[in-house]
Symmetry: C2
């Protein structure tokens, strides 16, 4: 079975670990969000790709969900001693090596997809990890500071400001001119199943869908498309998804997110058991819906979620 997963960072990576256990023989292609990518210290940092790679490759800091386990911060401290920041972005020494290799390969002319493949040769994530695009896309968030509107990089909004101010708009800058990375459209067209993990519907899955051709390919795919709600009991399971949902006019409810994707994209949708009341609402929008536990407390619980998604896919396949 060929499965394509459109994945953001932590939520996507953890879901994938469950999926790999639930479907050990599946050929999984992950289309990773690169709208969170940022240049720091002259280096190209791809937080979502790395979170997937480290999580599936056994190198992740389990507790925080991003960055490397057993990490030290000597380089960052030295950069700060030179007065060079930003200090709000936590790049550890092990992590720096990844960005140094990536930046060197990009400078040598390799596209991001080839670089990602080279990095994965070390990590052996057990999935094929593709960036959504080899072209630069950078998610910016419009905020208001002292009555004046200004745009900040998504990482500045998310990590530095901790989403403490309202997002007025979310713009994947460069997306309209970006092309899907080699293999992305083919993987979607040839998939037996397409999954939206409980990643952020705006700045993760939404950014991937903003690359021209990807949304259309998912809508046109022969395979069923099943998503898992990142909202449980009217609140994001993790992160501050409600802030960016509000920016695109979507309520922070499991049903509202399903309607946001819509039946053009989704064939099936899983909500948490606490949101069982939303099932009828989602089905009324033409999307098959089931209520199952959606908390990724450990790999077993996550594998059960993945199995529920596989079952719902079989149902909608009919």
């Amino acid at each position: 079975m060929r499965i394509v997963v459109l994945a953001g960072g932590i939520g996507g990576a953890r879901f994938l670990r469950g999926l790999r256990r639930a479907a050990p023989d599946a050929e999984i292609t992950v289309v990773g969000n690169t709208g969170d990518d940022i240049h720091l210290f002259g280096l190209k940092v791809c937080p979502d790709l790395d979170t997937v790679m480290y999580t599936l490759g056994g190198g992740i800091d389990e507790e925080q969900g991003w960055g490397r386990a057993d990490e030290s911060f000597t380089v960052k401290e030295e950069l700060a001693a030179y007065g060079v920041g930003p200090e709000w972005f936590g790049l550890g020494d092990r992590d720096f090596a990844t960005h140094i290799v990536r930046t060197q390969m990009l400078a040598a002319g390799y596209p991001l997809s080839a670089v990602t493949e080279a990095l994965c040769a070390r990590w052996q994530p057990g999935v094929r990890l593709l960036p959504m695009s080899d072209d630069r896309v950078e998610t910016h968030v419009a905020i208001e500071v002292d009555g004046e509107r200004r745009a900040v990089h998504f990482q500045e909004y998310w990590v530095k400001l901790r989403a403490s101010v309202d997002a007025k708009a979310v713009v994947p800058v460069g997306a309209e001119a970006a092309k899907p990375a080699p293999g992305v459209l083919e993987a979607i067209a040839e998939a037996d199943l397409i999954l939206f993990p409980p990643s952020n519907p705006v700045v993760s899955v939404g950014t991937i869908l903003a690359v021209p051709g990807i949304r259309e390919a998912v809508a046109a795919a022969a395979a069923p498309v099943v998503g898992l709600s990142p909202i449980v009991g009217d609140a994001p399971v993790r992160g501050m998804a409600d802030k960016v949902l509000a920016a695109v006019g979507v309520e922070s409810t499991a049903a509202a997110v399903a309607r946001h994707y819509g039946s053009e994209l989704l064939d099936g949708w899983l909500v948490d058991t606490v949101d069982a009341g939303a099932v009828a609402d989602v089905e009324a929008a033409g999307i098959a819906c089931r209520a199952v536990p959606l908390m990724m407390t450990d790999v077993d619980a996550t594998a059960a979620m993945a199995r529920a998604a596989l079952e719902l896919a079989e149902e909608v396949r009919g």
Copy 2:
């Protein structure tokens, strides 16, 4: 008093520490060799400039004479885990930060001289440190492997091969088109004293003199020019200077090195007391010569050497 020192790495840096103690009120400008510079992992590494900066700024690894004290090697180990080398060049985590800042500033358009000034704002070396040139000069060493001649980067010859094969030629690639960095020629012209520390006469001082205009400025300078022999008792005090001296047809003796520089450049030359027999020989070449202890065993001993150089300068000044 304004003193200009043409300096290589370890020998130059240690001498400068003694000079600073011997002449605490002097305004010292260091013209640093950049022919050893190398691009590693996409980063610009300037070993000689950094050795001077770290040594005078109190950050040097005292024992090995280069690199940072209290160093760790996490980044390098991680790079090796990605299969990315070279592994023979010892870049530590603290050191990496310097190269990251430098590379980022160079990419932003700053010349190396401005970058060096910015780095020195942290280290406060107590001297004005100028690269010999803002243009790229790279010392290559011609060697013979299996009867075939090939050129390797100086660092590969020195660090990887440990100068274990004969150097057939030493070529400062790019030197002929390089311009002295801003301030270099002015400092030489306005100096009250010019010193050649016991640095490598071929790949350190020689490379600096190979930048068009610098040799001419030193020869034309009003100030006395005094050098200290890096050869003591027919052997280099440290490093493998004999290998590269042989490549330019110069014997590894204190007198031969003085004659190599010649009386066009040198007004005075210090040899070690074990080489007192060479004094007459050097003076016959038109260069005032004294024999004093030239082992930089500690800062006191080095300051005494610097004082001897200052005294010889006064003598030749007449």
